[in-house]
C-alpha cells in the first residue's frame, strides 16, 4: 500500500506539472494593461479623435526633446533674438538657451535637441492618424474630413517650424516602416514648402470657420488660412500671402465677416488668462491651470511653466509672483519702446504692458528681488506669473493659466501690410492695416514703409517669439544680432542634432561641422 500510495503521489505531482505545462501557451500570452494592441485600435470615432489629439500634443511642449530640458517654443527663440537674453540662475542654467543666446551652438548642444524631435513627433503622429482615418468604422464623413484637415494643418505647422529652423529636413508624409527609418534623406526645401502649402490648401475647405467654446483650441479655417499666408510670406510669395491674409483681416480695424476676428480694444486684454480665445486670437495654444501638475509630471506639463520661468527671482508681492529670471528683456528692446521709431520722444503706450521695470517696482515697494544671470531689471509682462493665477493644487508654479497666442490678428495685419509693401500691392490698404494696429493703442498713423512695418512688428509683437524668425527672413539678423555673436551664413539655421546624424543619411547644416 505504501509503495502504491507513493507512486500515486508521484504520478499526481508529475501530472499536475504536465497539466501546467500543457496549458502554458495561454499562461504566457498576456494582454497589456491600460494599452491596446494596434490591430484592435482606431475602431471607434472616439479612438480616431484620441489619435488626432496625440498629433496636437507636441504643439504644447514645455519640456522634452532629446535632452529633456525646457523647450517652450518662446524661450529659446526669445533668448536668440534681440528682445531678450537667456537669463536664469547662471551662465549654465538651461544651456540650450544660453548657447543660442551666445551663438555658441554646436551639433551636440543647443535647442535643436528640443525643437527637432518635438516637431518630428508631431509629423509622425499626424501621419499615423492620417493613415488610419479612412478605416475607422462609424466615423461620419464630416468628422473624417475635419479630422483629416486638422491633421494636415498640424503636419504643415510642424514642417513649417522645421523648415524655418533647420531648412534641410527629411520629408516624411506616411508612417515610416522600420526598414525605411535609416534611409531617409533631406528633401529640397522647395519640396517641403510645397507639401506644407498642399496640406494647408487641402485642409482649409474642411475646417470650421469658428468652433464652439468647448472646442476652443481646435484648429479653425482662419488658423489654416493665416498659416498659409505666413508660409507664403516666408517663401516671399508676397501676392499669394496678401491674398490669404486679406481673407482673415477683412476691413482693417473692423470685424472680419464669418470669422469674427477683430482687434481687442484693450492691448493687455489680448494676453489675459481671463480673456482666452478672444476676437484677436487666430491660433492659440491652450494652457490649463487645473491639472495640479507637480515635478513628477515633467513630461506632460500643460500648465504655463514659461510664466514661472520669466518671473523675477526671489520675489513675490500681491500682484507678481516670483520666478526663475529667464528671458530678461534687453536694453535694446527697452530703448525701442522708450525712444520709439516714429519719434515723439514719449514711451510707446505698449511699454507698460510689455515690460516690467523691476528695479523701480522694488524701490517703490522697498522689497528686493534677486537679479538673474544677464539681469537688466526688465521683465516680460505678456505672460508674467501673476499672484492671482497661482494654482491651489499641485506645484503651483507649474500651473499658470497663461495661453500662448501663436497667430493673432495684429500679426496678420502687419504680415499682410508687409506682403503688400514687399509685393508692390495696395499701399493704402497696407497703411490702413499698420495704422489700425497703432490706432488701437492710440498712436498716430505712420507711412506703410517696410522699415516702419518692421519696427511696428517689433513693438507690437515683442517677446511673442516672432522676432528671431523675422530678423532672419529679412536678412537683418547678422547686423542686428552681431552683439550676441551671430555668424552670418551659419546661425540662420540651427544645427541638425548630432544624434540624428549618426547612422543616418542626413548631412549637417553649413558651419556646424564640429
Amino acid at each position: 500500500m505504501k509503495r502504491r500510495y507513493i507512486k500515486y503521489t508521484a504520478v499526481s505531482l508529475l501530472g499536475m506539472s504536465s497539466v501546467f505545462v500543457s496549458c502554458k501557451k495561454s499562461f504566457l500570452q498576456l494582454n497589456p494593461k491600460g494599452e491596446f494592441s494596434e490591430s484592435s485600435y482606431y475602431s471607434t470615432p472616439d479612438q480616431a479623435f484620441a489619435g488626432l489629439v496625440a498629433a496636437y500634443d507636441p504643439l504644447l511642449t514645455e519640456t522634452g526633446g532629446n535632452d529633456q530640458t525646457y523647450t517652450d517654443v518662446r524661450g529659446p527663440l526669445n533668448a536668440a533674438s534681440d528682445d531678450c537674453y537667456a537669463g536664469g540662475g547662471g551662465s549654465s542654467d538651461t544651456p540650450d538657451w544660453q548657447l543660442w543666446n551666445d551663438y555658441q551652438l554646436t551639433s551636440s548642444a543647443g535647442p535643436q535637441n528640443g525643437y527637432w524631435p518635438i516637431n518630428f513627433l508631431g509629423v509622425s503622429r499626424a501621419n499615423t492618424i492620417l493613415s488610419k482615418i479612412a478605416g475607422v468604422p462609424g466615423l461620419s464623413s464630416a468628422l473624417a474630413s475635419r479630422y483629416t484637415a486638422e491633421a494636415q494643418f498640424l503636419r504643415a505647422h510642424y514642417y513649417f517650424d522645421l523648415e524655418r529652423l533647420f531648412k534641410n529636413v527629411p520629408l516624411i508624409t506616411a508612417p515610416l516602416a522600420p526598414a525605411d527609418i535609416y534611409n531617409q534623406v533631406q528633401a529640397k526645401p522647395a519640396d517641403v514648402y510645397s507639401q506644407i502649402e498642399n496640406d494647408l490648401k487641402a485642409a482649409i475647405p474642411n475646417l470650421p470657420q469658428t468652433v464652439i467654446t468647448s472646442e476652443s483650441g481646435r484648429v479653425t479655417q482662419g488658423a489654416a488660412i493665416a498659416l498659409l499666408g505666413k508660409v507664403y510670406l516666408y517663401e516671399q510669395k508676397y501676392t499669394l500671402a496678401a491674398q490669404e491674409f486679406a481673407i482673415i483681416n477683412g476691413t482693417p480695424g473692423g470685424t472680419t465677416p464669418g470669422f469674427g476676428y477683430a482687434l481687442q480694444a484693450s492691448f493687455p486684454a489680448i494676453f489675459s488668462p481671463d480673456n482666452k480665445f478672444n476676437s484677436e486670437s487666430i491660433f492659440e495654444i491652450n494652457f490649463t491651470p487645473s491639472q495640479a501638475y507637480t515635478w513628477n509630471n515633467w513630461d506632460s506639463f500643460k500648465g504655463s511653466v514659461y510664466s514661472e520661468m520669466i518671473g523675477p527671482r526671489n520675489f513675490g508681492d500681491a500682484i507678481y509672483a516670483g520666478g526663475w529670471g529667464f528671458n530678461p528683456i534687453t536694453q535694446q528692446l527697452h530703448d525701442a519702446f522708450t525712444t520709439p521709431y516714429y519719434g515723439g520722444g514719449v514711451k510707446d503706450p505698449r511699454y507698460g504692458y510689455t515690460i516690467l521695470n523691476m528695479d523701480s517696482l522694488a524701490a517703490l515697494e522697498h522689497t528686493t528681488y534677486q537679479g538673474s544671470y544677464e539681469n537688466t531689471g526688465f521683465f516680460m509682462l505678456k505672460y508674467a506669473p501673476l499672484t492671482k493665477y497661482l494654482s491651489t493644487q499641485g506645484t503651483n508654479i507649474l500651473n499658470f493659466p497663461n495661453d500662448y497666442i501663436e497667430i493673432r490678428l495684429a500679426d496678420t495685419y502687419l504680415m499682410e501690410a508687409e506682403a503688400l509693401v514687399q509685393g508692390g500691392g495696395d499701399a493704402s490698404r497696407a497703411a490702413a492695416l499698420i495704422n489700425a494696429v497703432r490706432a488701437r493703442v492710440g498712436l498716430a498713423p505712420v507711412a506703410a514703409t517696410l522699415a516702419n512695418i518692421k519696427a511696428e512688428r517689433r513693438l507690437e509683437l515683442a517677446t511673442e517669439g516672432h522676432r528671431w524668425f523675422d530678423l532672419v527672413r529679412w536678412g537683418d539678423a547678422p547686423a542686428t544680432l552681431a552683439f550676441k555673436g551671430f555668424k552670418a551664413g551659419t546661425n540662420e539655421l540651427l544645427p541638425i542634432p548630432l544624434t540624428d546624424l549618426a547612422a543616418t543619411k542626413l548631412v549637417q547644416n553649413p558651419g556646424y561641422a564640429k
Binding site: 494599452e35 506632460s300 544671470y373 491651489t392 543616418t504
Partner: protein, 1044 residues
C-alpha cells in the same frame, strides 16, 4: 489486504528486533586536536536520524545499539565515525577540515558536495558574516566573493547597493537573480531578509547558473536561511548598540573665502566685485556641521532552533533600529523580522516543510542622495556660508524683506524661539536651508510589509529518487505617507496661498510566485556516482498601486492630517496603476556524473518560455556543460609534495537575460501618448491622445551570454586553499534599446538583439587556516580583475549616458565598441594657458585657434581632429567608472578567550566625476580647491581660473582635469571580542557568551576628495558620478552574542 497485514507484521517484527538489539548509553567528550572541547558537534547513529549534540563542554550522551556506529560531524572539521562496540565512553578528537571539501554547496534546485562541484561558485557562510555589521543581504557580498562588485548607492539606512557579478554584461539590467530558499526574486526589496537568518549565500558565477536559464547571465545569488539541527533546543541572542558618525567632511569655502572667490570669479569676467571687504563675514555657517550628526544603531536578534529525527524548526525575531548620520532627527530606519522555518519527516519517504519570513520596514528616505536637485547633502554643498542657520537679526540680512514680507512671514519655518531659519540671498532654485527643510519632512515616511516564503512536499518513492513540489511566493505591501504644509523656503520652493496644504498616501502591492516541481535521482554504484535532476517551473509577477492626495485639509500641521476630513471631490486626487504582468514557464534538467570524485562531468539545460517575447521566440533554450578533474587523486600524482589537492575544472554555457526587457515590446501597442487642452476656463478639458508608443520588434529574442570558465582549486602546504578562475563572458544579442533617429517621430525606443559586451577576467580566492598552540589564525583574501569591452552596438555609433546639470555637453558617458561600458567621454586636459600668447599660438595647420575663447588660466584641451576650434568631436575616452580591480581580505585570530577580526575591501582602476557644485548656480559655494584657482599671481596650479561665464568650459566641459581616481581601500570592520570562560558558563548553564567591541568603516585609504569613493546610482542611475552621495557612516559598536 493480506499483503498489508504482512507488511505491518514485518514492520512490527523489525521494530521488535530493534528493541531486542541491546541498547546502551554512550557518553563522551569531543575535543579538537588541542584538547579544547567542541560544543555543538552533531552526534548521530550512522544510517539513522537518531542523534544529539555536544553541550558547552563538549560532552554528549546518546542511547544507541551496542553494534551501532557513531558519526561525529561539525562545520569546519572532518567527520569521524566510531563503532560503538559495547564501549560506554567514547572520546573523540576531531581534525580540522582545512580544505572544506566535504562542505555542501547550494547549486539551485539542490546541493552538491564541493569536492565534486565543477562550477565557479562562491559561498559566503554565516560564520563569515558574524563579525561584521551586515544590514542587508546584498551588502554581505561586498569584498567576500571574488568577482562580485558591490557598490553602495547611499549610506542612508536601508539603501540598496548595486551588485554586479563578473562585470556589466547587459546594456539594460545587470542585476543578478536572487533565489531565497527556492523563491525567485528579481525586483529588489532584499532588505526584508534578516541577515542574521542567513545560513549561506552561494553565488553562481559561470555556466553553473544555467539551471536558471533565461535569467542566469548576470549571475545567481542563492540564499539559504537557517534550519534547526537535531539536538536540544538552541537559543541564541545577539545584540549590539553602536554610534554612527560621518567619516569625512569635504573641504568647502568658508564665508570670507566664499566672498573672495565670488569677487574673483565676477571680476575675472569683467564685472564688479559683489562683496566689499570679504573678511567681514568671518567663517560663516558650515552647513556640513549643520546636517551631519551622530546617530545610534541598535540590533536585537533572538533565534530558537532545534529538532529531532522527525522534524526540526528554526524561528527568529529581529529588530533593527538605525538612524542616519545626515540630519539624524528625520533619518530613521526600523525593521522587524519574524521567521519560521520548519520541516518534518513523518515517514521515511515523506518530508514536508516551509520557510516563512515576515518583515515590516519603516523608513525615512527622502534624502535625495547623489542628486544636485536639493536634499540635505546638495544643500550643504551648495548653500553659501553667508546665510545663517537661524536669523536673529532680520534687518541685518541683505534680503530682510523676504522675512518681513507679509505674504511669506506666516509660512517661514522657525525654530522653537520663533526665529526664522535663514533663507539665502544668493543661492536659490532647489537649494534651501536644510534645517528648515527638515521640518517639511516631518511625518513623511515609507513603509513595507513583506511576506515571503515557500512550502514544499517531498517524497522518496524508491531509494535515491526524490520528487519535490515547492510553491514559493513573495507578497509585498508597501507605500508612503507625506504631508506638505503651507511654507516658504525660497522663491523656488514654496507652497503659499492660494495653494493649500496637501496630504499624500500611496499603497502598492506586488506578488511574485513560482511553483517548482522537480525529480532528483541520486545513486552511487561502486565508484560511479550520478545525480539527475529534471524539473518544471511556472512563475508570475503582478502588482498595482492606489493612492490619494487631499488638498486643503482644515489643519496646519502634519500631526492633524487625516484623510477623514470631508473635502469637495475637486480637492481629492485619487490615482492608481497596474504593473504589466509577466509570466514564465520553464523546463530544466541537470545530470551530474563523477567517478571516485576524480573525474566530474555535468550537463545543464533549461528551456524558458516568457510572456515578454513574441510568438516567434516565446521559448529559449540555455545549455551548459561543466567538467572537473582532481589531479591529485591520480595514482601517478606524487605524494607528500606541497600540493595536497588540485582540481582543474572548466565550464561553458549559454545563459540568458530577460530582466533588461520591458513587457510587450514585441507587439505593436497603442497607448496614451500626450494630451491636449480644449475649451475655455470653467470648461477646459484635457484630452488624452493615443497612438503607437514605440516601434515593435516581433523578432525579439533573449539576451545571450556565452560564458567560459577555466579554473584551478588547490590545497597547498595543508593549510592554504586557493582558487583561480579565468573567465570569458561574451554576450551577444544583447537587448539594445535603439533610439531611432528623432525624425522617425516615435517617443519610445525600439529594442533589438543587437548589442554585444565581453567581460574577461581573473579571480583569485585564497584561504589560510593555521593553529599555533592556543593561537588560531584564519586568513582569507580575494582579488578579481575584469575587463569590460563593448563589442557591438549595431547601427549606433555609441550610446550616451549620464546627465550633468548645466554642462555644455550634458551626456558625459559613452558606451562605444572597443571601450568599457559607460566610460567617461570628454576633453583631455593638457595644461593651463599661462599667457595670451600661448592661447594665440595654440592653432591648427590652417591657423585657426584651437581655443579662441580661452584666456590665461584656462585649461588647454587636446585636439583630436587637429582642426580648430576645439569642439565636441575632440572629446575622447577618459576612463571607466566601473573598477576593473576589486579585492577583499579578512583576517581573524583567536588566542584563548580573545578573538580579533579585520575585514577590508577595495577597488582600483576606476574614475569618478565629482559634480557637487551646481554649475547653473554661479553663486553656489565652492570646493576648497577653488582657493588654488589660477590667478596672475598663482600660476603654479592645476586648477583653472574661476569664471561665471566660463567661456572656455573649464568647469562646464567634462575633461580629464575634473576626473579623479576612484581607487580606495576600506577597513570595513575591526572587531575585538572576548568569550567568557567555560567554567563560568557551566555555572550559568549557558553555552557561550561572547562580548565584543567593533568598528565599522573605521578608515578608508583613498585619494578621492569627496565624501565617499563608493558611488553609484543617484538621479542619473549611473556609476562614477558623485553629486553628493550619502556617505557611509563610521560605526563603533559594542555587542554580545549569547548561546544558551
Amino acid at each position: 489486504m493480506r499483503k498489508t497485514i504482512t507488511i505491518l507484521f514485518i514492520f512490527l517484527l523489525s521494530g521488535i528486533s530493534v528493541a531486542l538489539a541491546q541498547n546502551i548509553t554512550v557518553k563522551g567528550t569531543v575535543v579538537d586536536k588541542t584538547g579544547t572541547a567542541l560544543p555543538g558537534v552533531t552526534v548521530t547513529l550512522k544510517a539513522t536520524t537518531i542523534g544529539t549534540q555536544t553541550d558547552a563542554n563538549g560532552h554528549f550522551s546518546i542511547n544507541v545499539p551496542v553494534n551501532g556506529t557513531l558519526r561525529f560531524t561539525f562545520v569546519g572539521y572532518n567527520a569521524q565515525e566510531v563503532a560503538v562496540n559495547n564501549q560506554m565512553v567514547i572520546n573523540v578528537t576531531l581534525q580540522e577540515n582545512t580544505t572544506d571539501l566535504n562542505e555542501v554547496v547550494v547549486i539551485g534546485y539542490g546541493t552538491q558536495k564541493k569536492a565534486t562541484a565543477a562550477g565557479a561558485i562562491a559561498t559566503v557562510g554565516a560564520n563569515d558574516l558574524k563579525d561584521q555589521q551586515v544590514l542587508r543581504v546584498d551588502d554581505a557580498l561586498e569584498g567576500r566573493a571574488a568577482g562580485v562588485t558591490v557598490t553602495s548607492t547611499s549610506g542612508a539606512p536601508g539603501a540598496a547597493p548595486n551588485v554586479i557579478i563578473r562585470g556589466q554584461n547587459s546594456l539594460g539590467n545587470s542585476s543578478p537573480l536572487y533565489v531565497v530558499d527556492g523563491q525567485i526574486w528579481d525586483d529588489g526589496g532584499y532588505d526584508s531578509i534578516n541577515p542574521n537568518d542567513i545560513e549561506s549565500l552561494s553565488v553562481l558565477k559561470d555556466a553553473s547558473a544555467a539551471i536558471y536559464g533565461s535569467r542566469a547571465s548576470n549571475g545567481v545569488v542563492l540564499i539559504t536561511t537557517k534550519k534547526g539541527a537535531i539536538g536540544t533546543p538552541k537559543i541564541t541572542y545577539n545584540f549590539y548598540y553602536g554610534n554612527q558618525s560621518v567619516t569625512k567632511k569635504v573641504g568647502l569655502a568658508d564665508a570670507t573665502q566664499y566672498a573672495e572667490l565670488r569677487n574673483e570669479s565676477v571680476t575675472n569676467d569683467g564685472g564688479t566685485a559683489p562683496f566689499a571687504n570679504p573678511s567681514q563675514y568671518g567663517t560663516g555657517t558650515n552647513w556640513q556641521d549643520v546636517i551631519f550628526g551622530n546617530a545610534p544603531i541598535m540590533s536585537n536578534n533572538l533565534a530558537i532552533s532545534g529538532g529531532s529525527d522527525k522534524s526540526n524548526y528554526f524561528t527568529s525575531v529581529g529588530y533593527l533600529h538605525q538612524e542616519g548620520v545626515v540630519t539624524p532627527d528625520y533619518s530613521d530606519y526600523k525593521r522587524m523580522n519574524f521567521r519560521v522555518n520548519t520541516s518534518s519527516k513523518p515517514k521515511s519517504w515523506l518530508t514536508y516543510g516551509e520557510n516563512f519570513n515576515y518583515a515590516y520596514i519603516r523608513s525615512t528616505t527622502n534624502f535625495n542622495t547623489n542628486s544636485v536637485f536639493g536634499g540635505p547633502l546638495s544643500d550643504a554643498l551648495n548653500l553659501d556660508p553667508l546665510t545663517p542657520v537661524v536669523v536673529t537679526n532680520i534687518s541685518a540680512q541683505p534680503n530682510a524683506s523676504t522675512y518681513t514680507n507679509p505674504n511669506y512671514a506666516p509660512y517661514l519655518f522657525r525654530n522653537a524661539q520663533g526665529q526664522p531659519y535663514g533663507i539665502s540671498a544668493y543661492v536659490a532654485n532647489e537649494i534651501v536651508n536644510p534645517i528648515a527643510d527638515e521640518q517639511k519632512q516631518i511625518g513623511n515616511y515609507n513603509w513595507a510589509h513583506n511576506l515571503q516564503g515557500d512550502a514544499y512536499l517531498q517524497i522518496e518513492p524508491i531509494k535515491g529518487l526524490t520528487i519535490k513540489t515547492d510553491i514559493a511566493a513573495k507578497q509585498s505591501f508597501y507605500g508612503s505617507e507625506s504631508f506638505t504644509p503651507l511654507f516658504y523656503e525660497n522663491a523656488n520652493n514654496s507652497n503659499l496661498p492660494p495653494a493649500t496644504n496637501s496630504q499624500y498616501r500611496i499603497m502598492q502591492q506586488n506578488l511574485e510566485w513560482n511553483w517548482d516541481n522537480t525529480a532528483t535521482y541520486d545513486r552511487t554504484i561502486g565508484k560511479h556516482h550520478f545525480t539527475v535532476l529534471v524539473g518544471q517551473s511556472s512563475e508570475e509577477e503582478s502588482g498595482y498601486d492606489v493612492g490619494d492626495t487631499n488638498y486643503g485639509e482644515p489643519i496646519t500641521t502634519e500631526q492633524q492630517a487625516s484623510f477623514n476630513f470631508a473635502l469637495p471631490q475637486t480637492d481629492r486626487f485619487g490615482f492608481g496603476g497596474d504593473q504589466q504582468p509577466e509570466t514564465l514557464s520553464s523546463l530544466f534538467a541537470r545530470a551530474h556524473y563523477d567517478y571516485d570524485e576524480k573525474y566530474i562531468i555535468e550537463g545543464i539545460v533549461r528551456r524558458d518560455g516568457s510572456s515578454k517575447f513574441g510568438s516567434d521566440n516565446v521559448y529559449g533554450t540555455f545549455p551548459s556543460i561543466l567538467a572537473g578533474w582532481v589531479v591529485t587523486k591520480e595514482d601517478w600524482f606524487p605524494k607528500n609534495t606541497f600540493v595536497d589537492y588540485l582540481k582543474i575544472r572548466g565550464s561553458y554555457g549559454v545563459l540568458g537575460n530577460e530582466l533588461a526587457l520591458s513587457p510587450f515590446q514585441y507587439t505593436p501597442i497603442v497607448g496614451s501618448i500626450g494630451s491636449y487642452v480644449y475649451g475655455q476656463e470653467g470648461g477646459q478639458t484635457l484630452v488624452t491622445g493615443y497612438g503607437p508608443n514605440s516601434l515593435p520588434n516581433p523578432a525579439l529574442k533573449w539576451e545571450r551570454d556565452k560564458a567560459t570558465d577555466i579554473a584551478l582549486d588547490a590545497t597547498l602546504f595543508h593549510d592554504l586553499t586557493a582558487t583561480i578562475d579565468f573567465y570569458n563572458k561574451a554576450s551577444d544579442q544583447l537587448l539594445l534599446s535603439v533610439p531611432p533617429p528623432a525624425y522617425a517621430g516615435v517617443s519610445g525606443s525600439a529594442y533589438e538583439n543587437a548589442g554585444g559586451i565581453t567581460n574577461k577576467g581573473v579571480e583569485v580566492q585564497l584561504g589560510y587556516i593555521k593553529k599555533f598552540g592556543d593561537f588560531n589564525v584564519h586568513l582569507n583574501g580575494n582579488i578579481a580583475y575584469n575587463k569590460n569591452t563593448v563589442t557591438n552596438l549595431n547601427v549606433l555609433p555609441y550610446i550616451a549616458a549620464g546627465a550633468w546639470q548645466g554642462s555644455n555637453t550634458p551626456q558625459i558617458q559613452r558606451s562605444q565598441v572597443g571601450q568599457a561600458y559607460d566610460s567617461f567621454f570628454g576633453y583631455k586636459e593638457i595644461g593651463i594657458f599661462q599667457t595670451q600668447a600661448q592661447v594665440n599660438a595654440y592653432k591648427d595647420k590652417n591657423g585657426n585657434l584651437f581655443q579662441p575663447n580661452a584666456k590665461p588660466g584656462d585649461y588647454i584641451f587636446q585636439s583630436v581632429t587637429d582642426v580648430g576650434p576645439i569642439g565636441p568631436s575632440d572629446r575622447q575616452f577618459l576612463g571607466s567608472p566601473l573598477p576593473p580591480w576589486t579585492y577583499g581580505f579578512n583576517f581573524a585570530a583567536s588566542y584563548k578567550q580573545f578573538d580579533i577580526s579585520v575585514f577590508g575591501q577595495g577597488v582600483w582602476g576606476n574614475k569618478l566625476l565629482q559634480e557637487y557644485r551646481r554649475l547653473d548656480l554661479s553663486t553656489a559655494n565652492y570646493p576648497i580647491s577653488a582657493l588654488n584657482a589660477w590667478t596672475p599671481t598663482n600660476t603654479n596650479t592645476n586648477v583653472a581660473r574661476l569664471s561665471d561665464n566660463d567661456p572656455n568650459g573649464n568647469y562646464k566641459n567634462l575633461s580629464s582635469a575634473l576626473l579623479q581616481s576612484g581607487a580606495y581601500m576600506r577597513i570595513k570592520t575591526i572587531q575585538v571580542g572576548y568569550t567568557l570562560p567555560k567554567n563560568l558558563m557551566t555555572k550559568l548553564d549557558m553555552s557561550r557568551v561572547h562580548v565584543y567591541v567593533s568598528g565599522d568603516n573605521l578608515f578608508t585609504i583613498t585619494k578621492y576628495n569627496g565624501f565617499d569613493p563608493e558611488v553609484w546610482g543617484g538621479s542619473n542611475q549611473t556609476g562614477g558620478v558623485d553629486q553628493g552621495v550619502y556617505p557611509t557612516a563610521r560605526t563603533i559598536r559594542v555587542g554580545v552574542d549569547v548561546t544558551l
